[in-house]
């Protein structure tokens, strides 16, 4: 064990560990590995068993042959875990995320080479084999032809067919089976028997069948890997914006350092057009492209002191300076990448059950093949062909690929539209929902308010009133206060006091000033616009001006609510806000089931009541004060843009300010479920029809290889359909926040 772990000890150094793994609570860390040779559920199970007593959690993903490992880093060196994986015959590599894409590309090259070799040599084998199809060949030439076939088939068998043979027999040695086991047995049996018959100058040779198996299976495997490459590519694109070097500002000037050596609190400079290396706080005003992180296409203006995220691009003309607040794996960008990755690795319980069925199915195939050979034993040639056909034609792959490929494609598709799927189970549940509960503040509305109307009633002009109000509200971090201070920098008033429900009081130039909420009628708003909330600015009890504030609605709320309705869902609006405000928003977006003035516990009680009535409820919220709501619902969607991602909860997270992402989620969910159902229907009916036919000896081995390769290919391609077509709406399109006045 120890010598197997030796090459990995380099990863045990604390500074290296910090770069390749994420710290979790109480000395635990998480690392992403690529596990060469992990091809099926059986491999995953063996690895899980071997790591059971040392790892806290093993999340393996077969399609991308990668694995997320959580372990107690303060007690166990990473190298000992890697050594254990190695002892099983796998080849573990620690992945910085870019590496993953590189690996996928190398794999693609290897797969293409195998296909090329199988094709070129296989064609020659078939050409030579065809001579014997058309009748007796003179024994002298027959010997020549067969030896030539043998020679040509050997690179196909040993080089192109090696992955199948290796996987199949490695599992057998571990007293288990994989999807490749029947194929491996068939290939070795056909090749061995043909070689024997060539030497003994008797019977039939099957070199052409072997070449055909390998070619068709390699092509099918190649297409499966293509899906995996697409997913890895999306991640690479997320991470490629992360620069490798940063310009650190020191007392002696500017020095370039690797991003991994940046520390919290240091200052870095970002040149125009460059990406920000770490999350930080701005020292100057800046204009940034955050499209990678939030899908927001328009440039974002940020003021000094505001936060910027790693991966955003400096669009300004000048270099910008920032103070680092988060580095490496803690940056929002790394977290997004990790969430995407985790979602792709998530295996729903349903999928694990399918995997188990598929494994039993492999055993059944082996038994059936033996039985077929036994029944036809009177005619050895027929017996072999029938057994080979049964081994090859059955396609447990299609069964075990049906769910994971579809889900992986759906995750990639949604990530492209800035919807992060945290738990893939969600897609399978969406169809059974009956109710959706939307939180108001932060969900239907952004957390911001703005001044929509100003009525001045004293000798001062509007700008002066705004300035006075801003001075009173400055330093307060409340949506109403931010509306007043949004576009001004002023000296704060003295002795500012916030009295809940009554307003803000303070002194400006030794005079008492106040901003207090007032009814609409008092502010002279006879129309009674229900969206406006009025505030009076007064000096020594004398009213100077009235301000009408509105809540800012998120983009696309009406379409989103309408879309939910069209999906047959009851839409509820839950709000902690007053009845009038909640009803106004509800009426505007088209929700009539409005529950106003609800505490977080009340909101949860509504969900519980709906559930008790037999409903299945989805909750949508921004996670700020609706945690219980999201946790109590059957399905949850969080809303987060930019830095708020870290606070977001939910099984899916919308990363845009645009609520239409909900529509994307439902649409992709519906298509995913349809494609999974189609894949299952195909895999089951194919096997039920083909196995008896092969058993009867009606299917020649090459036809069987075509059927099997085609079947798993069909399932994969069907899943990849999710990546294209469908919704014409793109969440990344520029969106204008709607205001309701």
């Amino acid at each position: 064990m120890s010598d197997l772990a030796a090459p990995f000890t380099v990863f045990d150094a604390p500074e290296v560990l910090a770069q390749i793994s994420t710290p979790l609570a109480a000395g635990q860390r998480e690392v992403l590995l690529r596990v060469e040779g992990m091809h099926c559920g059986a491999c995953v199970r063996r690895m899980e068993n071997a790591l059971r007593d040392v790892a806290l959690q093993v999340r393996a993903d077969v399609p991308s042959a990668s694995c997320e490992l959580r372990w107690q880093a303060d007690r166990l060196p990473l190298s000992s875990l890697l050594g254990r994986i190695k002892a099983l015959g796998f080849e573990p590599t620690v992945l910085p995320d870019d590496e993953r894409y590189h690996q996928a590309r190398m794999q693609r090259r290897a797969a293409l080479k195998r296909i090329g070799v199988a094709l070129l040599f296989g064609m020659q084998v078939m050409m030579l084999a065809s001579a014997e199809y058309f009748g007796e060949v003179d024994p002298a030439y027959r010997t020549l032809l067969r030896h030539a076939q043998w020679l040509l088939a050997t690179p196909v068998f040993l080089y192109a067919g090696w992955p199948f043979i290796f996987d199949g027999f490695r599992a057998l040695l571990a007293r288990s089976v994989t999807m490749d086991t029947p194929v491996a047995i068939a290939m070795v049996a056909a090749y061995g028997l043909s070689a024997w018959n060539t030497v003994a100058a008797q019977g039939h040779v099957y070199f052409d069948s072997v070449a055909m198996f390998v070619l068709l299976l390699s092509i099918a495997r190649f297409w499966q890997q293509k899906g995996q490459l697409l997913a890895a590519d999306r991640l690479r694109r997320l991470l490629s914006n992360q620069p490798l070097l940063a310009k650190r500002v020191t007392d002696d000037g500017i020095e370039p350092v690797p991003v991994s050596q940046l520390l919290v609190g240091q200052r870095v400079l970002v040149a125009p057009g460059e990406a920000v290396p770490a999350d930080g706080r701005l020292c100057d005003a800046a204009e940034l492209d955050e499209s990678l992180l939030t899908g927001e296409a328009l440039p974002q203006s940020r003021r000094p002191g505001e936060s910027v995220l790693a991966g955003s691009v400096n669009l300004g003309m000048r270099p910008l300076e920032l103070e680092v607040t988060m580095v490496g794996a803690q940056t929002v960008l790394s977290q997004i990448a990790r969430l995407v990755q985790r979602a792709q690795m998530e295996r729903p319980a349903f999928d694990t059950a399918v995997e188990r069925v598929a494994r039993h199915f492999v055993w059944l195939v082996l038994v059936l093949a033996g039985l077929a050979g036994f029944i036809w034993r009177a005619d050895p040639e027929q017996a072999l062909e029938a057994a080979l056909a049964v081994l090859v034609v059955t396609c447990p792959c299609a069964l075990s690929l049906a769910v994971p490929t579809s889900l992986a494609a759906a995750v990639t598709r949604l990530a492209r539209q800035s919807v992060l799927l945290v738990r893939t189970d969600l897609l399978l549940h969406l169809g059974r929902l009956s109710d959706v509960c939307l939180d108001k503040t932060g969900t239907l509305t952004t957390r911001g308010m703005r001044i929509a109307r100003v009525r001045v009633c004293a000798e001062l002009d509007e700008a002066q009133c705004r300035k006075l109000a801003a001075r009173l509200e400055s330093g307060l971090n409340h949506p109403i206060a931010r509306a007043f201070t949004a576009d001004q920098t002023v000296a704060p008033a003295d002795e500012i006091e916030l009295r809940l429900g009554q307003g803000v009081f303070g002194f400006i130039e030794a005079q008492a000033h106040a901003i207090t909420p007032v009814p609409a009628a008092q502010a002279g708003d006879q129309g009674g616009d229900p969206f406006l909330r009025w505030f009076a600015l007064s000096r020594a009890g004398h009213t100077l001006a009235y301000f009408g504030l509105v809540e800012e609605l998120r983009a696309g709320v009406r379409q989103a609510v309408q879309g939910l309705r069209e999906n047959g869902l009851n839409v509820h609006l839950l709000s902690g806000d007053s009845t009038t405000a909640a009803r106004a928003v509800g009426a505007y977006v088209g929700i009539d089931q409005v529950h106003a003035a609800q505490s977080p516990q009340d909101k949860l009680a509504i969900v519980r009541r709906l559930q008790a009535e037999g409903g299945r409820v989805m909750a949508v919220g921004d996670g700020v004060n609706d945690g219980p709501l999201l946790a109590g619902a059957d399905a949850s969607v969080g809303i987060a843009s930019g830095a708020a991602l870290t606070q977001a909860h939910g099984e899916a997270i919308l990363m845009t300010d645009d609520l239409r992402g909900l529509g994307c989620l439902f649409e992709v969910g519906r298509r995913t479920r349809r494609i999974i159902a189609q894949n299952f229907a195909w895999a089951l009916s194919y096997n039920f029809i083909m196995v008896p036919l092969a058993f009867m000896g009606w299917i020649t081995p090459w036809l069987a290889a075509l059927g099997m390769g085609g079947s798993s290919l069909l399932v994969t391609l069907n899943a990849l359909r999710l990546l294209r077509g469908g919704s014409s709406y793109h969440c990344s399109e520029a969106t204008n926040p709607e205001a309701v006045t």
Binding site: R105, R108, R109, L112, K113, G116, V117, L120, F121, Q124, L128, D138, Y141, L144, L145, A148, L151, L152, P155
Partner: protein, 45 residues
């Protein structure tokens, strides 16, 4: 028919050569990104 004794070994040699070219082309990355070309503008006439 005895020409087969020459022609079959010759075809063996040819296929080995062809496979060698193919493998070396892949190793030099010529097949890494086939999709990119269909989307690229014909910019260098």
């Amino acid at each position: 028919m005895s020409s087969l004794y020459l022609l079959i070994p010759l075809s063996l040699l040819l296929v080995v050569l062809a496979a060698g070219f193919f493998v070396s082309a892949i190793n030099r990355g010529q097949f890494d990104d086939l999709e990119r070309f269909e989307k690229r503008m014909p910019d260098d006439f």
